[in-house]
Assembly symmetry: D4
Homo-oligomer: 255 residues x 8
């Protein structure tokens, strides 16, 4: 319902090219198709520069396959399934195959017990993105983030195991950080990596707290609060373990 | 301590243009000056594209004046004092005056009981920034954000009182949002404005939860959590009431 | 123990139609029957306009069957079992069958791993109720709510997947919302749908936060707090995932 | 922006009675007027059956007076100011007086240090509303609720000091509760009154937790959680100390 | 509304000594008198073995005086005002004086900025009660507890500053603890004193967490949780700073 | 290490009946025996009037058997195992059998998936204890409490399913409550039963919050806070689901 | 009540040099003197290597003076008053003066609105202690810590304003940290300094979270959790703002 | 990147013994080796006096084996794997065997379902360390702590089941505590053991809260907060269940 399409529609009505009834119907029905259990948003890519992603949890494999089928058919951009179980992966790859969309290397990224599935990744896109993690345990979140960035056309650089307890491991990457157009910092425990990276680069920094750690790490709450309170200014934060969201934020930042 | 200056210095040592002792000393002492109670970071602007801001709380007026004096003298970029009391404002404006730095309109932005002070704002900078608030009570945070954006060279557009309870007030601004290069959403209570704005624009959205509201708003915690859980993808969040941080994030995003 | 029945009883005593001992006994024993492990409240429907529902968790299948048997025998209104496991469903349908109460379509509503079971649904009742959900993951809670509304005699309309990130999906239903007599909004994550719906309809809005989402959604706490802090006035809230409670609230509102 | 007015407008365009440009302008500008610091929503009463209320905190007395002036001038329904300081009360009553709107008994309801101000209360409205409080300390919240109910045209009955520790004080009012069309339960501490009242009446029950009590009452959080977990089914809850919200909920319920 | 008085009343009706109307009226009106802003519970002492206490916060001095006047007139037991400000103390002592109830030593116990006021303390009562505190900062809570115990007829022994950091200070009182009929343990910070005392005496131990301490003591929450988790079995806990509640618990325990 | 035994020992030393070395050794070694992984406290019954209970979780079945063996051998009072798995139950009953301690009815009380095991229950003890629960889901906690009370010699009365939503179910037991020497109230959800019972009986009330309920019941936290904030005075509280602790508290109260 | 003094006492009894009655009395009375409102622990220095400190909050100036007087008279080590108001400082310096204990430079350390007072500081003690703070706002806590370290005989080095956002400021002090015998890290906001320092020195690191910062810093909770979750191993933490406790921990570590 | 090695390197450059390019490369590459999924820190032992430990969770058995292989090959100190599953233990012992590093008694310490694995423990080291636990349920954490202390060369004394409910069990160990060079206190529930031990020994006390207990123990949060608020001064705390961290803290304290 953005202003310019509203105006075009109204001009069509004014010019007799469209009846009022049709106009109202279009205003209501155009931008999505209703599958009964879900309303698939065809215009999201156009409107937001990002394709709609199918979020796996709570959906049956059949639901997933139906939505993916709808998106592959009705749009021509990338199609994404996140946090998918093995059964969901199987269902959507079968659905894609039925439409002649093949599965190549990089289609399914395993991230712990769940996976990210990418069909028809976008064509390459400018922007040097660095994804940096504090420890090995943060890798599942980084994998999701990397897969989504890839689906959106980025070719991100991944730096792993750069926690601040061994500062030299991080300082060794100071050039990589300085040359980045945007940085995603993924860290659990006390999340201090975000603060330190924020002081080493002028690029936008999107921090992702992870549920890594135990006890007082409180499933990512400690890292979340620490990143929100980071003494380096201008750091922004997404939700706990939200590698997908961080990738989308990058897509907004580097259009 | 970035790699290229390290290399120059080492080459100087290799070429006999610098003794090892001097090199070590420079590596240690160059980047800040130590006032005893504070270490002023002269190179922050160079390193991070943002000047060091003086954070008022916990500093005496004399401390504030001394740091501002040091920054005005040793650097030539903008100088910022945030969350300043009236006494602190008086002290730093006197210190600036003594250095011949005058106070004009826009130098002091009152934001509730505290103020943001800006000396030598940066020269104008490209980038259409929209700062949108949900309600009148969010204005103090917006004021801080606007002042810091101004100090950094932006000329942001401010939209006020666009809470989602009266959706038409927001939809009226749909063009403004669609044309923005970046959007700062400032909202308290349930912070739903961030989710809705995120669905209306492809631009980067930096959400600032505010401590507006009472009872179950829990001093901004509700808005913070809601923004972190926003169903619109790619929204990023800064700390509660952190208008300053949001402005810095914009400066990272629109370099 | 409402005042008029108390008065009748006392008048019976005054008139010699009832001995004091009997009066005391009646006052104590009348309104429920004690199964040992549970006290079944026969008069709840009369007193509150809602039948007593059997809450599955913590009860053995035998307990469930016994209470359902008691209710089917001693009352003639609807009988409800909520949050039932497969074993509990099996036990109560057998118990009902033994009493000649058959199982038809709509008797068992699967809601994730648990089910809602309805015997002898009430006869149709006026009142246009809309149950609207933000995402597919909220469906299990909506299913429980729909089943209980059906048991109480309502024929609710269900709108699914209307989250605020794609506002046009919601705006397309603006007429449906405007014509509703009451609306149940079911949403997880940041729960912003309640605020937006509250601004689009003058009808009573009962918001149900769900435990959908991860990380900072905190198992429904974020949605709960956001709904309680909603900027649209007059929204009321029930407990997390409490689709049953929302249906009962509607029954109180539309008598 | 509801569907029928949209259709009328489009038909006007189709019929040449309105140019496309004008249509777009109307769609944007009609429903509120922009005071710079606030957007006053003239149509709220029409759209939601409730007038827009001015929320005092964070507004200067001048802001309050300006919004009240706008509402008194541009609408003809009730005008409300909530949580107002003495200075705000003085400013708005002066503004009202300047418009010839007088101040009578009941205009200003003192609720602790803050007040609720009502100009032009609605004409009497059907619906028996009972506002019941647990203790004397809950009275300020009840006062706000009563004043807003009065502004909306109700003539509520108030029952005070009916906490469950002395159950007979509550049982004495069992008839009043049984005959109510809607009940607002206001309680702090453990908020048990809501559960008990919910078991005594079939009417809609809106529970308001208050920040009464100390220690483990946690400023109303205990009462809030208890009310959300109430064992009586169908109780709904509004935010802590939100007497205003409860009154609005009643207005939605008893139209 | 206990069963035996109910029976008597019903027998009176059966015997014609009381009309049904009168019976209903008595059942409703007897046990309290309604002052408009408060319902004073005359029978609490009879029913619960404890007089109704007037809780100061949220009441005007006039309210306090009126309730105290009502209680002094309509009952003949002890009358208590807790958490009273200086103005409230002045008002109630004047009200008492007007009824010929004098103020002697021990009437007003200052407990930090607030006071406990006791008129007509109960006559002496058996039961050796020990009130033990961890540190000097717990004294205000202990003072309230001692005053209420005194009002109820006890002559408690007070042991102060027995924190577990200097275990010998506590062990020196081992006989006193061993001979007690009941012990109230009052402690803030980590509340460990309750665990240790619980291991030294077979008497009932009522633990009162206090808001003493700073930082991670979280206004008494730490002590509260620690006392609830005490490894000594059979310790019971009342709310934070609730010296009054502990005294009442003792009165229930030592009847 | 209580004072009188200390004195006896010292007198023995003074009288030459005991050498200093022996005295020190006795002071150290007497009151427990060290099994390596546990120190079994033989004197707890003597010292605290309660036998030491073996807490199952975290112990292997062998550990449980060894401690039970030690207690059955070295003391002659009741021996308790709480929260035992099936394997632990099997191990300890075998160990008891090997010592000739038989298993009769009432030895093993199943409480959900875990059990309470009682060997050699104490001989009957005076004191009318009532254990009252709000709902069927609270039964596992009640079962633990009943079993421990039995082990300690009490013959408690159990009242089940008396939640305040159907007040008449509770009022029917008003005599039972009024005649009790002590009451244990076990409730989850909003825990309101404790407040209401506290207003109906002058007896000591020990409230046990349970983790019954879902969503905003927060695993018993809501009931815990509500019970601590109960408006009925003198109620005391033990930890969540701590039926064992409540029984021990009763043993302290009714010696 | 340590074992060797117990043995001596018992040997005295055995040797007739002490009656049993006297022994018991000594065992009870020796180690402290009871001022009525406080039990002053004379032996704490001997037992724990640290003098007893008087904690100001909750004590009247007279209380403070009395305890200080007792400690100055009965012991000959350092005497400390922490978190003292101006009135308390005045009272204790007068009390000290009356005993001929003078006030020199360093006696009173102002730490925000409160002060630390040190009489008779211990003689110099080995051990290179570094106290490092993240920002200027952490200085009040550092001041308390420095004063207490001084009282205990240390001559600590203070490094200020070394937050990780400007890592070079910290790296410049790498030698100082490497040569330290123990380090106290004092930081608010996200507390990342502790993690980084922990990776730069093998010395014991005691981290003190401060209540510096706003919004998501949550009065020190964020820093506390972050320090407890620090990825550098072997860091230990004391309570929020507890500069005193950190100094005492150093005294335990460097005896 | 410590200062002296930096100087040596720079002197080598100055002396022509190293080219600038090589110097930069060395500064970057020296201190770790990058395995792709992890950066193994060879110098940690040198830099921090503690070997790098491999944290099991989130790593595949192959990851674990690869890192252990790298550490066994590239360093010659102890190699540690913590919180390892059975599969991880199997993988690393195979990897070690392949390098000729045998498995002896004490290599694998089972701690609940997870294990600590130690290869090449350090040679014996001075320092009397006492590890004391409150209850049997704390043993898994103690086992991890003991194993790590052993790996670092300590021969700690373990005292088990010394909870404060039976104070005599603790007092029996008063000599052991008094003679310790450092004490680790491991306790769940209310964590009171730390406070009491802190008052009995002048040694450094490192407290480890455990997730033992249920209900209000909140998975270790209660013990954590209680230990941070301990009334004994100078106690320091590590994260919940962090036996490893406590051992590392001891290694920093007793170098």
């Amino acid at each position: 319902m953005d202003a310019s399409s509203l105006r075009t529609l109204i001009e069509d009505v004014a010019g007799g090219r469209c009846t009022p009834d049709d106009a109202v119907r279009q205003l209501r029905r155009l931008p999505y198709s209703d599958l009964g259990f879900a309303r698939v948003d065809h215009h999201r890519d156009l409107r937001l520069g990002m394709p709609e992603a199918v979020y796996g949890p709570g959906k049956t494999p059949e639901h997933c396959a139906a939505v993916v089928d709808e998106l592959l058919t009705a749009t021509d951009g990338p199609v994404l399934l996140t946090r998918a179980t093995e059964a969901q992966v199987k269902a959507v790859t079968a659905a894609a195959a039925a439409l002649g969309v093949g599965v190549g290397p990089g289609t399914v990224a395993e991230s712990g017990p769940l996976s990210t599935v990418v069909f028809r990744p976008a064509s390459p896109r400018a922007g040097g993105v660095v994804v940096i993690t504090a420890g090995t345990a943060d890798l599942p979140v980084a994998t999701e983030c990397m897969a989504v960035l890839g689906a959106l056309g980025f070719a991100p650089t991944q730096l792993t195991d750069c926690g601040v307890a061994g500062l030299h491991r991080l300082l060794a990457e100071v050039d990589t950080l300085a040359m980045a157009d945007a940085v995603v910092v993924i860290a659990g425990m006390e999340g201090a990596l975000a603060s330190v990276v924020g002081g080493l680069t002028p690029a936008p920094v999107v921090a992702v707290p992870t549920s890594t750690g135990y006890g007082a790490a409180f499933e990512g709450v400690t890292a979340l609060l620490a990143m929100l309170s980071a003494c380096s200014s201008g750091i922004t934060v997404v939700g706990i373990d939200n590698g997908y969201g961080a990738a989308c934020a990058i897509a907004r930042i580097l259009p």
